[in-house]
């Protein structure tokens, strides 16, 4: 196999892999709520409830801070 053929195969499989990653990510975003109870739409509230006295949408616990 010469270098050009090798590059062409590499290009094809890399593209196919990237497409899989992209669709995998979309799949994850849309199934996360059902599977793990993680609703990505809730994060939109971070901008709306952003006063310093507002409760964080997802608080960092004190242990994590240490």
């Amino acid at each position: 196999m010469d270098i050009a053929t090798f590059q062409a195969y590499g290009y094809f499989f890399l593209t196919a892999f990237m497409v899989l990653v992209l669709y995998g990510y979309i799949w994850h975003l849309y199934t996360a709520k059902k599977k793990y109870g993680k609703d990505y739409e809730e994060y939109a509230d971070i901008a709306l409830h952003d006063d310093i006295t507002d409760k964080p949408v997802e608080k960092i616990s004190d242990e994590e801070k240490k």
Partner: protein
């Protein structure tokens, strides 16, 4: 005033708001002077022949581009970061003395950098690389400023209360990382004085790359300066300010994430479209074209997401000039991210390249999208940082229409000028002789150049109204309580 245990600290945001307005006036004023010089060349000597060296088009042009990119836009990016960053991470700058020190250091060093840039460009000291004109000592200063900004970003993230990073934060991080990488690689330069053992000026340098390689790195940088300076941080702004001002959650948060990763992956490969029909390898040119077309998807993903965020609330566009600015910004984003890919198609580019259509494209993007969004962000921030309502809503409305008219006159005149230019340049007779000389095109384009100068002047007039409104808000606006600052920005009639 209400009794609140902790407040966000906007000292650094305020400083950058001021530099946004001042550098915006400088950058746009120089732009308008350039536009009149193009229409009426006598204006090159508007301060007399003795000062002609400093006032001619070629001396002022980099001052215009760098003042609006690195002055106005970056100041706006920093101002909004020091505002939005605290709010969506739910942590105050006042909670960390170190971050406050870094923030202020960031501003003052940035100002030193700006002064050095202005002086060196006016004196004609330049590397001659577009949007990368600064000589190596200034480059080093800029890198230091950038690293300090990075420390501020990651420092604030490190002490946050909100676990998840809001979508705008991702865009700000991408701005930081993207520009850092681009700036370092494109500004690799050899200081000639030191390399030659003492020949020439100590501050002079030449690019480390040569010929086609230099062009490739330059346009990988140049196009992505648009990506990570004019797109990514402005998207960060609209994802925060439009939902906040309208009180509507982002239409689809999932789509915002997907568009983010799409934009990150695709944008970096599109720069080759600046070098179509040049000496770079053909496959690179094709790749630049293809990735430019694919770029429509993530760009429109964000823009449509913003327009759909207004779903059911379109009456706000009519009632609030601030929402008007943002919706028009989003629309101009869609418009210029469709126009750009069309220009990147090889057959279209054969006509458009080097013509004024490209200049028109840049300006419908920066005037309509970047400028409108930054002004909207500052209008939203002003009452919150100064605790005063916007001084005049009617002035905002007038400003909106004056500037919209300015943008439309600008890009329509440049479309006509560019396409006319492209057609005339390649017109030939039956023997293959060119039908026109360059000066023929210049005479034909004169009316359009004048219209462009009028459009630019209108935009500058609007910007001065914005500056005045901000100044009056800061000094004479009615004082407001925190409870009045939830969503829609308070404005006096």
């Amino acid at each position: 005033m209400e009794n609140r245990p902790l407040e966000y600290d906007y000292s650094v945001a305020k400083m950058f708001m001021l530099s946004t307005v001042v550098l915006g006036i400088v950058g746009m004023l120089v732009g308008v002077i350039l536009a009149w010089q193009l229409a009426f060349p006598g204006a090159n000597l508007f301060l007399g022949e003795a000062l002609g060296e400093y006032t001619n088009f070629s001396r002022l042009r980099p001052l215009h581009t760098d003042a609006v990119i690195f002055g106005f836009t970056l100041s706006g990016v920093f101002a909004t970061w020091y505002y939005v960053g605290q709010r969506v991470l739910k942590v105050s700058m006042a909670e960390s003395k170190l971050l406050m020190f870094l923030g202020k250091l960031h501003f003052w060093l940035y100002l030193v950098g700006v002064a050095a840039v202005v002086v060196s460009l006016v004196l004609g000291i330049t590397t001659s690389k577009e949007y990368a004109e600064f000589e190596w000592p200034i480059d080093i200063a800029i890198v230091i400023v950038w690293v300090i900004w990075g420390l501020s970003i990651f420092g604030l993230i490190g002490i946050r209360r909100e676990r998840s990073l809001y979508i705008s934060i991702w865009y700000y991080i991408a701005t930081f990382l993207g520009i850092a990488m681009l700036y370092l690689f494109n500004n690799m330069e050899v200081p000639t004085y030191f390399a030659s053992g003492g020949i020439g000026a100590w501050y002079h340098s030449v690019s480390m790359y040569a010929g086609t390689n230099d062009a490739l790195v330059q346009w990988w940088y140049g196009h992505n300066a648009v990506a990570f300076g004019f797109t990514v941080p402005i998207v960060a702004m609209i994802y925060y300010f439009l939902p906040k001002e309208s009180g509507q959650a982002v239409y689809s948060y999932k789509l915002s994430l997907l568009s983010f990763w799409g934009l990150m992956f695709v944008y970096l490969w599109a720069g080759g479209h600046h070098l179509l029909f040049s000496t770079v390898p053909d496959w690179m040119q094709t790749m630049g074209s293809v990735f430019s077309i694919v770029l429509i998807l993530p760009s429109w993903g964000s823009a449509i997401n913003m327009l759909l965020t207004m779903k059911g609330e379109w009456q706000q566009v009519a009632s609030s000039p601030l929402i008007k600015f943002m919706v028009l910004a989003s629309t101009f984003y869609m418009f210029s991210t469709l126009e750009g890919p069309i220009q990147a198609i090889k057959s279209v580019n054969a006509l458009a390249h080097f013509t004024d259509w490209i200049v028109g494209h840049v300006h419908d993007g920066v005037l309509g999208w970047v400028g409108f969004m930054i002004m909207a962000a500052l209008f939203h921030m002003a009452p919150r940082v100064f605790k005063r309502e916007i001084y005049s809503k009617s002035m905002m409305n007038s400003q909106f229409w004056i500037q919209t008219l300015g943008v439309i006159l600008y890009f329509t005149s440049m479309w006509i000028a560019g396409i006319t230019q492209g057609m005339m340049w390649r017109a030939h007779d039956e023997f293959g002789n060119l039908a026109y000389s360059f000066i023929d095109t210049v005479s034909v384009l004169h009316p359009y150049f004048t219209i462009r100068a009028v459009g630019g002047t209108l935009y500058l007039v609007g910007f001065l109204m914005f500056a005045w409104n901000m100044y009056k808000t800061m000094t004479a606006g009615r004082r407001v309580e925190e409870s009045e600052l939830q969503n829609a920005t308070p404005m006096a009639a």
